[in-house]
Amino acid sequence: MTVRVQAGDFDIGAEIAALTRGNAKAGAVASFVGLVRDTNEGAGVAEMSLEHYPGMTEKSLEAIVGEARGRWDIMDALVIHRIGPLRPGDTIVLVAVVGAHRGEAFAACEFIMDYLKTRAPFWKKEKTPEGERWVDARESDDEAAERWKN
């Protein structure tokens, strides 16, 4: 299980290859990449910056991945989250989950993303033509995380 917080970009193919290297029981990798969009809530976004809570960030991501491993029969998982200034089109986050079969890998990957969105201490600030603004939390993210409680 690997969790990284970094300013630089990541190479998805190399990360997935490293995650499965030497594990010939791995049959499935479900992954997710989040990207900076040039529009949010009706305003143009020229740049974004991501603030986080060093220390808690890593702990919370590890706890989320640990919870996923407790729920599903998965072999390994990786979370990389970028911080600092980003531009439209840039990657923000990578979540990749390895399992023997696809069903559990997909579920765990989506679960990790939903929990990351509501529990990991990151905050986005956008530069728009009207100035800078902190992004508001989305109710739909709370709902997405809620549904795993059953």
Binding site: E51, H81, L116, T118, A120, P121, F122, W123, D136
Partner: protein, 84 residues
């Protein structure tokens, strides 16, 4: 007892401060009491009682308003998270 307090994102900007160390009076024993104590300092500090859905972490774990505090704790206040 003394605690270390951290502020993040919009709350950090509203308060003009990222952290502080503070000695607590005896009647401040949990997170909610700490929040009220800090907000009672007036002016910009009222942001602590006005931030919608304020979140708190104690020692880097999400905590509820009734979570107890002990000497040396790291308490962080911040708005709902928006990463990912």
């Amino acid at each position: 007892m003394s605690v270390r307090i951290l502020y993040f994102a919009s709350l950090r900007e509203a308060l003009g401060q990222a952290s502080e160390n503070i000695a607590l009076p005896a009647q401040v024993a949990n997170v909610g009491q700490l929040q009220a104590h800090l907000a009672a300092r007036g002016e910009t500090w009222e942001a602590l009682s006005k931030t919608k859905n304020l979140r708190v972490a104690v020692n880097q774990q999400m905590a509820a308003m009734d979570a107890p505090l002990k000497d040396g704790d790291e308490v962080a206040f911040f708005p709902p998270v928006t990463g990912g």
